[in-house]
Point group: C2
Chain length 241, copies 2
DNA sequence: ACAAAAGTGTTGTACTTACACCCATGA
DNA sequence: TCATGGGTGTAAGTACAACACTTTTGT
């Protein structure tokens, strides 16, 4: 930084973009908004916007999420993804965007239909498969965020951040299946997550049986985030043909 | 981004900072420069500087590394770390810095003493332990980069990027030991890395024996980067007391 | 012969997948 | 009774750490 020049620095705009994951009807979804102005007017886009000059980047992410979507509950998890700054990513000017990803607890998904009329929850599959067009490089950002989420599920207790209330082990399993796009053995999954000391706290209650079958035990998640030892491996074990 | 305002956006400076790892005399080191101007004049700092207005972020990182350190060989690995943008991280103005980390091959470490007189290779330990003071939040950036490096060694074949030429398996083991700060069983390590198909390519040659002992086989690394299956786990296996 | 590093063998334990099987409920 | 999902048992295979042991060089 020897060539530092406080008065002649190039003019950059700095924005934040947010990928907010939630689960609805066993489907992994993200929060999107409809753009009201050019470019990409009418297209779907991630919530986000300008960072203020005295504002921390993470604060900006939280603020823009609340302002643009009407979501008032704080995400149960929020972390930086990476920064996207290709010179041509915005047709009008040079924009560097710091992307974040987050998890919204499931109990708070009256999101769609909130006061922000243009806010919707969209299936991640529809985005990654290209059935939904996103503005700017937002489709790439969503792919990267999905990758990061999948990685964190392997090594940390993050998955339970999708609930503030009770859940069944099969609910937890469906998170993993949805994010990883695989099917997991119910029995083996059960044992693995139960073995993690302290993660799943028994409530003593049982779920009402909905489609037949033995009622499931209900658990509450340990608060906070911890590394999983051993990790829940994504790849189906060793398979060196 | 509905409140997009091309003419009134807040004035941000965007910089890049680089953490460039290399190994010298079995010690993990990073490239640092001496600052020639205020603030932090005379202090150590990471190479880095302003992103140009039409320049890709990664290109800026490579350019600043070359300009500030005189290092002409391209790093064998370069990836984004994260972005640091606390409002008070630079006392003069609002700066958002996109941090990167990289690996320099060992054979190219005539770096210290190159034409950039202020460039030095410094032990990472001296930085993380606070024996060397760094400008701005650069000590935090180094810690985060070290963490990221350790993680990648677990799951990818990245470690061999430290060499362009031949190396011994014990050289490779010392990388892991240095970055993770642990001692590894030579025999077990040997088997694990040999088991990865394609990673270590035999050259048929043997190292001259330096301190006695059977001469080691010399290997060359497979080009590119691959996931390690199974990963080389950092934690000493399962140990649930 | 001895020291030292390279590399292999072996054993007991942990973890995994696959799949059989039992449990507890509603219809 | 049957269907269904919840949950446990079990066996074969993989990976692991620990450590003994053999190999191959220099002195």
């Amino acid at each position: 930084m020897d060539d530092y020049d406080p008065h002649g620095f190039p003019p950059f705009a700095v924005t934040v973009d947010m990928v907010v994951f939630t689960i609805r009807r066993s489907r992994l979804q993200i929060v999107l908004i409809r753009r009201g102005a050019a470019p990409f007017e009418g297209a779907w886009a991630l919530p986000g916007g300008f960072v203020r000059v005295d504002e921390d980047l993470e604060d900006a992410a939280r603020r823009e999420l609340a302002e643009e979507t009407g979501i008032t509950t704080a995400p149960s998890f929020l972390t930086q993804l990476r920064t996207y700054g290709s010179p041509d990513r915005d047709p009008r000017m040079r924009v560097v965007s710091v992307a974040w990803w987050a998890i919204m607890p499931i109990s708070t998904h009256p999101v769609a239909g909130s006061d922000a009329a243009s806010t919707e929850l969209i299936d991640v599959d529809d985005v990654t498969a290209g059935r939904i067009e996103l503005a700017f490089d937002h489709r790439l950002i969503v792919s990267d965020a999905l990758e990061a989420l999948g990685d964190r599920l392997e090594t940390t207790t993050l998955a339970t951040s999708f609930w503030t209330e009770e859940f069944r082990i099969s609910d937890l399993r469906r998170i993993y299946e949805t994010v990883w796009g695989v099917e997991l053995e119910p029995g083996n999954f059960q044992r693995k997550v139960r073995r993690v000391p302290g993660w799943l706290q028994p409530t003593g209650r049982r779920a009402p049986t909905t489609e037949g079958g033995r009622p499931a035990e209900l658990f509450r998640a340990e608060p906070g985030l911890r590394p999983l030892t051993p990790p829940l491996r994504r790849r189906p074990g060793p398979d060196p043909r």
